[in-house]
Structures are given as structure tokens and as C-alpha cells.
Symmetry: C2
């Protein structure tokens, strides 16, 4: 039986987009064989490398080569493609739009506009961008529903670990009452290295050296990234309608060797804990703050760049998922998993 | 919109079946509202309390009362129902057969015959019984496929934690290369209590007192239950075709205080570890044995009746799922999750 063809447009072709392309090249035959699905990238648009489209599918290996050699994508295009992203989204020959542009974490743009344009033009949407979920989840979810289109985002929190699909598929008829989590790899890495004796500054430099902290690490260190993720989970799972600045937030900038040593002597480890719970008046309170976590708590044992979440539910009580030392491939995998679930209709 | 009606027959109405009935009564309105699904129990057959069926749906609260007061089910039946289980399965007015009888762990019967009869008579099957998967997974899976019917079994391993659905829905196009796990609550509880100073015999008695060990605890202590679960996971995920006696097996009967103390001094904890891996010749080697697990390994920190699994995959690398201190409701929830996924067609 010929596989079902899914035409996909990539909005953005940075590290995650290229990891996705490599993963798809590696897994293409297996996806066709196991899932009866042929995923074809029919459009790519970038900020600095131009755009290309081809309704028959672009040559992904050639696209990777072009970008990695510093060239542009337009020679791969069957016909001239719009240079403007919204126009590209509206006109590209694709069933699914994969939104993976660089995000402004304070506004959720331009990803939110891209997602909206894609849904309004009748495409399913898969994104690795937290912004649209932190700033406009409810509106985008309702828009997707009204158009009968999928809106999936597995890669936004804990990379491609099957967090959202676990709740969607594995926990039907279940209310998420709250969660406790470590969701920011950079700060968890820094705290782990500080426990091993590095100063805060040395640990930050090491995180920058291995590529998990940016030149200006404040987005991680001050808890913004963790707050955005906490906000996303509360909005998606707990019917909250929070914005990141409504998450009570304290970063790790104030943590020093004396704090770590005091925690150690008390049989604890300091972790940047993300949490949400429903208060008695039905609101959702979300919080990011360093906590001295006792060693009896699994969160204390999740170290380095790994992440963890413990859900409290009204059916399974507590459930914990841990992702170990992710790489860009993990984020790319979340996109691939979402695409397969769009194709098989496992998203409603 | 009127909800879709799913007619369900329960084969067995012991602790798990009754927990399922209570859960369904509690969640019925929520399932209808959130999933557009009305689950109706249209048949129940038991070993000692008779049988009842009603194509319009039995009164579950009345069924619970009847059995808990020591009565029989037949007064609830709209018309006389067969007393013989296979005949009941073949003729009951149900779309889905839920197999939850008491199992003979050495043969996988009578559950395997029940599952086969249900699939052959065109029903979807949901089971909490490990036996059919340990003794006949491949044949039953192929039978279900050939009939176009679902065969789901979330509650067989780690109770209702979304283990199988996580792999099925969250890890498409992924190969499970191996796993390490603690899957037997009873032995994990006993080892935890022994670390706290109890003797082996005292810990076993405490496990019996709280109802997690049987009068003859050898099925747990000698690693049989763990071996059956390991066998199930290897068969379902790794294309193995093992039987429980092909799992290399060592229980915890030989573990004494001196072993625990030696482990403690070495910064380790003794755990009954279930594992499987693919060998170089493509076979699957499965094993259950006590191991002195280092404290750096998350398995060391999963205590009491909790359970844990770490999967090794070719897409997400490692992924860990932990279930905390399950109760019968957890197993019942796995049945409910499977039923919702049968109804929405998320099983292929």
C-alpha cells in the first residue's frame, strides 16, 4: 500500500530544524514502513538563507548542505517563493506548518503570528516554540478547534520527551491537580557543577562552553525560561490563563557555595523548582524558585542537564517522567512525534 | 451531541473489577463531557457470583452492592446469561471485553483463552492480565490485527501508569533498545523495610499485612512476577518471543542484612532489577536479579511500593517513568484509559 503523504513546511531552519532534517533522513524508511506515512518537506523559509518550496518535496540533504556551507535555499526552489514569512505560510504547498523560528521570549513573537496565520490558512501546526503557548494558548487552541486542525507542541517543554502526549493519550478523564518539576537544563547543570566545587561564574562559563547557556545567560539564570515553561504547562493542563510575568519567579543568581553547603549538611540539594497548584478559590498558582529539596524527593537526584516532572492527578496520584541529558536531536524528535500523531489523527 | 456509547463486558469482578466500577461511576459524567463517550457495562461474569447482562447497561452500583454483600449478580440480568465464560464472551452484547480474571501465572490461563475467544468473536480486548502477553503475545496481536480489533493492556505492568501508551503514542518511529526497571512492588517494599532494619521475615509479614504479598509470597520473592513482566515488555516492545522461564531469574530470598549493609557502605542499594537488552546476534536477553545499584542511578531512589522503568531508545536516548505507591484504583485507571483509547481509535 502506498504510504500517506504528509507535506510539511519548516518555518525556520536553525539548529532544531537541521536536526529535524537529519532525523527525518535517518528515519524516513522506518516511518513509511511502521506508520504508513511519507513525510515530505515541501517548504523551508529562513531569516537569512532565503526560502524554497516544491510541492513534490525538497531535497533535504541538499538543503542541509546549502545552509551548512553558508549558501542560500532559493536554488532548490521549484518556483520563486515569497521572502515574507506570513505570505510563505499562507501560500506554501503544505498540510502542516512546523514553527521553529527564533523567539523573543518577552513577547512570544513572531512565532505566535506564524501559528495563527498557519491555522487560519487551514494548516495543522506543530511547534517547538514556547512563546505561542505562554502568550496565546487559549486563543490558538480555540482557533485550531474551530478550524478542525491539530495544534501540537511536544518539543516546547522537556524537549521531545513525551510529556504532552502522555497526558493527552495516557491520562484521559484525568485532572492534573499540580506539578513539581525541574525544567531548565542550564540552571540544573550550573547547580550540579557548583555542588562539585565550581564557583557560580565558573559553572556559567562551563555551561556556555558546552553550548547550553547563551552569552547573556540571564534568561536561564533569572528563571525566565523556567517561568515560561511553567506557564505553558499550567495553561495547557490546568485551564490556567497565565502569562509568564504572572509566574512568581526567583532565579539562582543569589545562590552561593554557603547555601549549597548548608543544604548538603541538611541532607538536601538546591534545585530550581517549577511548580503549579490549584488554590482553594480555583485559581492556579505557578512558581519558580530555588528550593532545598530533601534527598527522599526524586527531584534531588536529577542532575546535570536532565529534567524531571512529577504530576499530581486525580486518577493515578503521582507520576514522574525524567529526561536524561537531552541533545538537539531530542527536540527534533518531538517534532517528528507530533507529525506522526497529526497524520494518524491522534491529537483531538 | 449525544455521546458515543461503548458497551463493555467485564470478565471477572474481583478487586480490580470493582475498583474499575467505582472509578467509572465517579468519572462517567467527565468522560462523557470531555471525550464524548458513554461507557456502559453491559455484562459481568464472575467465578462465584454468577453472571448478568443487559444490552442497555447494568446498574453498576447495584452490582457492587450485590457482590460486596455476598450476593449474586443474576438478579440484575435482563435475561438469563450463560454461566460458562467462553459462551458468555461469545454472546454478550459488548463491543469491548475487559479480561480481569484470576490468573494461573504458570500457564497464562484462563485469560489467554478468554482473550482469544473475544477477539475471534469480533470484540476489542482490554486486559490487566499479564499471562496472555507473556505466553501468547505474538499470536494474540496478530489475531487482533487480522480482525481489525484493538488489544490493549496498559494495566499489566506498573498498574495504570501510561507505559504502553507512552511508547505507542509518544515514541513513534522509535526502537526500544533495552530497559532497566523495578517492576515488583512487593520485593521493593521488602528491601526498603529491610534497609530500615526489619528482618526478611518481618518485612514479608508487613507486606502481607498491608495486602501486597500473598500468604505464599514466593511468586514475588522468587522473581516470578518480575520475570513475567520483563517477558511482557520484551515481547511487546522488542519483538522478542520469550516465555517467562526464558527470563534469567534470581529472587531476593538470599538477601540478608549483611548484603544490605555491604551495599550501604559501598554507596549502593540492593534492588530487584528487571532488564532486557538486544545482544549482538539480534536476540533479546532478559533478566531479573538483585543488584547493588549505585546512588547515582535513579533506580536506587525508588522505594517502597513504587516502581520505575528507564528505557533506552534510538531517538530520545534515555527516558524514565516512575509510578508512586499504587493502589487498586491505579490498575482500574489503566483499564479506563485503554477503553477511552479504543473508543477514539488510538490503538493502531
Amino acid at each position: 500500500m502506498a504510504p500517506m503523504v504528509q507535506r510539511v513546511a519548516l518555518i525556520g531552519f536553525g539548529a532544531v530544524g537541521r536536526a529535524f532534517a537529519r532525523l527525518l533522513l535517518r528515519k524516513d524508511a522506518e516511518i513509511q514502513q511502521r506508520h504508513g506515512l511519507a513525510i515530505r518537506v515541501t517548504g523551508i523559509i529562513t531569516a537569512r538563507r532565503g526560502a524554497a518550496w516544491d510541492p513534490e518535496g525538497l531535497d533535504l540533504a541538499a538543503a542541509l548542505r546549502a545552509v551548512e556551507e553558508g549558501g542560500g535555499l532559493s536554488p532548490l526552489s521549484r518556483s520563486p517563493a515569497p521572502a515574507e514569512t506570513i505570505a510563505f505560510i499562507e501560500r506554501c504547498p503544505a498540510d502542516v506548518v512546523v514553527e521553529i523560528t527564533v523567539l523573543d521570549p518577552r513577547t512570544g513573537q513572531p512565532a505566535t503570528d506564524h501559528v495563527r496565520a498557519a491555522l487560519e490558512s487551514g494548516r495543522h501546526v506543530v511547534t517547538a516554540n514556547k512563546g505561542p503557548l505562554a502568550f496565546a494558548y487559549r486563543a490558538l487552541r480555540d482557533l485550531a478547534r474551530s478550524r478542525g486542525r491539530a495544534f501540537l507542541f511536544e518539543s516546547t517543554v522537556m524537549d521531545g520527551a513525551p510529556l504532552f502526549s502522555m497526558v493527552r493519550e495516557g491520562l484521559p478523564a484525568t485532572r492534573i491537580q499540580g506539578f513539581r518539576a525541574i525544567l531548565n537544563s542550564t540552571t540544573n547543570f550550573i547547580l550540579t557543577r557548583m555542588e562539585e566545587g565550581l564557583s557560580f561564574e565558573e559553572a556559567v562559563r562551563q555551561a556556555q562552553a558546552i553550548g547550553i547557556a547563551e552569552a547573556d545567560p540571564s534568561n536561564d539564570i533569572d528563571g525566565w525560561d523556567a517561568a515560561v515553561k511553567t506557564c505553558v504547562l499550567a495553561n495547557v493542563w490546568m485551564e490556567a490563563d497565565l502569562r509568564p510575568d504572572q509566574v512568581q519567579r526567583e532565579g539562582i543568581r543569589g545562590i552561593g557555595p554557603a547555601d549549597l553547603e548548608a543544604a548538603r549538611r541538611a541532607g538536601r540539594r538546591i534545585k530550581l523548582v517549577c511548580s503549579a497548584e490549584r488554590t482553594e478559590d480555583g485559581q492556579v498558582r505557578a512558581r519558580v524558585a530555588p528550593e532545598a529539596v530533601p534527598l527522599e524527593d526524586l527531584l534531588a537526584h536529577v542532575r546535570g542537564t536532565s529534567s524531571v516532572i512529577t504530576l499530581r492527578t486525580d486518577t493515578l496520584k503521582q507520576l514522574t517522567l525524567i529526561e536524561h541529558e537531552p541533545e538537539p536531536m531530542q527536540t527534533a524528535f518531538g517534532l517528528l512525534a507530533d507529525l506522526v500523531n497529526v497524520a494518524r489523527g491522534h491529537w483531538g
